[in-house]
């Protein structure tokens, strides 16, 4: 269904969130001076951001540290009052903090936890059951499903402080999802996890979105998270939105080159190869020689054909550059 014909589940218009901070001169004199004179300045954490998100979408929120991602999520979940702008989540004004609204969303922050540290995770689940007024039958059913999906049945009765980071994160997710939220804000849910655990959580989030139709906004510094989970990405930089669209269109718009990976039957001159593109790597791999070339996107196919004609090529592969590199390119372009 085209997005325009649907009602957005999250709508932000002209959102601004400014914080007042004071600058202190370094040293003791600066501290003494700050007793009677403080210079305040306004930090624009989020500066005029607008977007709509539709039911069931999984949107990646990308940006460097301090870009305003977490602040936006905190405004959306009602933790912060905006300085300006209109925000609607599930038809509610988030900072009214109505229980009917709070029962329909969850916020998971990778660097903070809600589990009771000294007790098994199950105890926190039971507390959330009481707080979110989850009927016993529904609680049992949802818990069973989530426990199976995340494979944590063995650790439910072990004190949280004795769990590994990955196990804790799985339990955090369960605690946040027990009330079947329609909207899920995930703030760096895979931070600090090893690659295997990152993959497990990604698969779970994907499955959860599919099964429950939940709308998900995800921030992450790991581009694999965004690539695997999100069709749409919103890039923000210094509080401004600089891109909003399909992940593929970031590649189309900002990736100027494609990567040509080549395997040759015999040694080739790097000087000769450089005529066709920027040689990134040249090395020996077993008996064959390998090379990686950056070639202009538009001419990638033609260039590959020419190289095939000219050199003893055994294997060729044309790839898009890694999304990380493209995003870096986006930020560099904007900053220049």
């Amino acid at each position: 269904m085209p997005q325009s014909s649907r009602t957005p589940i999250i709508s932000i218009q002209g959102l601004k969130k400014y914080f007042k901070v004071y600058r202190k001169e370094p040293g003791l004199w600066g501290s003494i001076k700050s007793l009677w004179h403080r210079e305040y300045e306004e930090v624009k954490a989020v500066d005029d951001i607008s977007f709509d998100i539709y039911p069931g979408e999984v949107v990646g929120f990308i940006g460097q540290n301090g870009a305003g991602k977490t602040t936006t999520l905190k405004v959306l979940s009602g933790l912060l009052y905006p300085s300006e702008g209109q925000v609607s989540v599930l038809g509610y004004n988030p900072w009214d903090r109505k229980p009917e609204f709070q029962k329909q969303f969850a916020l998971v922050m990778g660097q903070k936890n809600q589990l009771w540290w000294d007790l098994p995770a199950m105890e926190t689940f039971l507390l959330n059951k009481a707080i979110y007024e989850i009927p016993t039958a529904q609680f049992g059913k949802t818990l069973d499903k989530l426990v199976d999906l995340l494979d944590v049945r063995d650790i439910l009765n072990i004190q949280v402080r004795k769990l590994s980071l990955g196990q804790r994160m799985k339990c955090e997710l369960i605690a946040a999802l027990l009330h079947n939220p329609k909207v899920l804000f995930l703030d760096e849910p895979t931070i600090g996890l090893d690659v295997v655990m990152q993959k497990v959580l990604r698969d779970f989030i994907k499955q959860y979105n599919k099964e429950f139709g939940a709308t998900i906004i995800l921030t992450s510094h790991y581009m694999d998270d965004v690539k695997e989970l999100c069709e749409r990405a919103i890039i923000i930089d210094k509080g401004h939105k600089i891109f909003d669209g399909r992940l593929q269109s970031i590649i189309d718009k900002y990736a100027r080159n494609k990567i040509l990976s080549l395997v040759f039957g015999e040694k080739v001159s790097s000087k000769e190869l450089a005529k066709y593109g920027q040689v990134k790597e040249l090395g020996e791999d077993g008996t064959a020689l390998t090379a990686t070339l950056l070639v202009p996107r538009k001419h990638a196919a033609k260039t590959a054909a020419k190289i095939l004609e000219k050199f003893p090529v055994q294997d060729v592969n044309i790839e898009e550059p890694p999304i990380e590199a493209i995003i870096r390119e986006v930020f560099q372009t904007k900053n220049n």
Partner: protein, 282 residues
Amino acid sequence: MDVVSSQQKLRKYGDLTMRLGYYLKVFGQMAKLALATILEYRVDAVVRSFYMFAYISGTLLLINTVFTQTNFLGGFDYNEIMLMYASMMVMWALMETFFFDGFKYFVLYDIRNGDFDKTLIKPVNPLFLLSISKFRIESALIGVVMMCVFLYYASLNLSSITFVSAVIYLGFFILGIYIHYRVFTCYASLAFFMTKASQALRTLQSASDQCFYPTIIYPWPVGLVFFTLLPIALAAYVPVSFLLNRGSFLLLGGTLLVAIGSTLLSSYLWKMGLQQYSSASS
């Protein structure tokens, strides 16, 4: 029309009962978790109880020393002062058991670390949730012991106590707890605006050591502070004065004024604080 309005009243009453049931359920669950946590650290609980009993013994020694020099303090004899002390300690134990630590952690850590986030997103009154987030079940033990002490000294003062004065005492005792909760809320709300709000809470707690004596023995500005800014007098002097049939309209009016004032001020400060809350960077 009457049927509709009585139905509305019933629904409202039903809603209220349901909300009360809900809050009791959350309260019960939190109490269970707190008890389980304490049981994880049994030695800590025993040491803390020992420390509190030692502290109470010190205060009792002080009262006894004072009464070696005089027979009356502000018009109250030893047994009556002990009644006041026990009354204050029962109230203190109740507050300590149920909400003092919640406020303390909120002021010391939750605001500065942004941990208040996890409370604020829950579909329950955040003030309620934070205030009951740390139970100290071992303080309940002190409460039980001091209740026995209170009953003992009440039995020694039976000639001054009537059924009506006992009921009024109970009313003032509950009102005292309510006012304290509100005053704690005011002090805790300061954490939204300043980083050293914990000092204010500590002052409130340490001031309580001096306030079980009749307010009348202090110079009037100090008495006024104990009645308003640090309303400890409301925990001991006022209820026990009414219990012993020595209450006055001034005390009654003053208490009600402090109750209204603390309700309005705490609601205002808390609301302003929530608007001011800026969480913490991740």
